[in-house]
Assembly symmetry: C2
Homo-oligomer: 200 residues x 2
């Protein structure tokens, strides 16, 4: 196997990158200036060297306390529970949330051998006890594992004097009823939002 | 800008990689073992360090003479002229060609400031003079620049006792007439292949 073939094999294992893209990457790295190619390699090293998990919430950070936990302007009564740090980053990009985060570092998935004890649930409970949190928003994936994890946390936190909510499931913005799957439609109906009520 | 944002900015400039894929890459590199992440960086370095251009034809190679030039079983009377080394690799993957290659390292593109003198045309003419080449297949892109380059080479080599051919232009395999663009249809008709002839 040539070094080029080895490169393509390695890079085509990355998420979102097929063999064709890996080949284009190889040819790109061969065609640019040496320093540009080196910069890509260096960025991988730097990313690993400088990015750590926030001690407190588990989000990615360059210091021991992340920008979310460190920001005095955020709403410290809301706690959004996510499976992975990138989920927090994605929610943040929506600009729809200004509270704190808590990263579980996974979801309960018996088939993959991941149980509740593998997630940062102790830390979550500790935060509920010691911080001034009034609402926990369960923002795990809308998948069987994500739903099961949300249900588990809901039961775990049931006895605390807090509101527990789950992100809404329904039709994505811009989607058409005709092409919606039945489970999504069913959830979209169950979770319908009251606009006005004649009876009240 | 955080290191993570810088990583995403850098990697989203790569061909075939958008911001979303660059983000997924960053999170992937943060989640895998340190040694796995390092391996990707090393592969970029190794690719650059070990891959050179063949002295003779310009294809990518790990030694001064590439596997094509070095292979005694290839047809040394046919020479396929391509713009870039990856074009040769792509033709090779089709298994439809067993001759030699010649890489121009670009095409004539006045708008980008690339003229005939920037391509390996001297070397091409030298090969026609010194090697036993009987057919030159012009396999530059079917684009205005690729066509212009093919035409230029056709004129350049016109006085040599060799056959000059151009790869066929027409409808891609599996395509439908209904959706074909008019230029492709027109070329497909002009380049039609005779199946049987009543008159002959």
């Amino acid at each position: 196997m040539t070094v080029l073939e080895e490169f393509v094999n390695t890079f085509s294992r990355l998420p979102g990158i097929g063999r064709k893209t890996a080949q284009r990457l190889a040819y790109h790295f061969l065609q640019v200036e040496q320093s540009v190619a080196n910069n890509f390699a260096d960025q991988i090293h730097r990313l690993r060297a400088s990015t750590i998990h926030c001690n407190h919430c588990g989000c990615y950070s360059e210091s021991e306390e992340c920008p979310f936990c460190n920001d005095p302007n955020r709403d410290r009564t809301q706690l959004c529970v996510v499976a992975w740090p990138q989920d927090a980053a994605n929610i943040e990009a929506s600009h729809a949330y200004r509270g704190l985060y808590h990263v579980l570092s996974g979801v309960i998935a018996p088939l993959d051998g991941v149980g509740p004890e593998d997630l940062y649930l102790d830390l979550l409970e500790e935060r509920i006890k010691t911080e001034n949190i009034q609402e926990v928003i369960l923002a795990t994936n809308l998948s069987p594992e994500g739903d099961a994890t949300a249900l588990y946390i809901q039961r775990l936190l049931n006895n605390y004097p807090i509101t527990i909510s789950r992100i809404a499931s329904g039709l994505p913005v811009g989607s058409e009823l005709e092409y919606a799957d039945q489970q999504t439609l069913s959830r979209s109906l169950k979770g319908r939002i009251l606009l006005s009520s004649r009876g009240s």
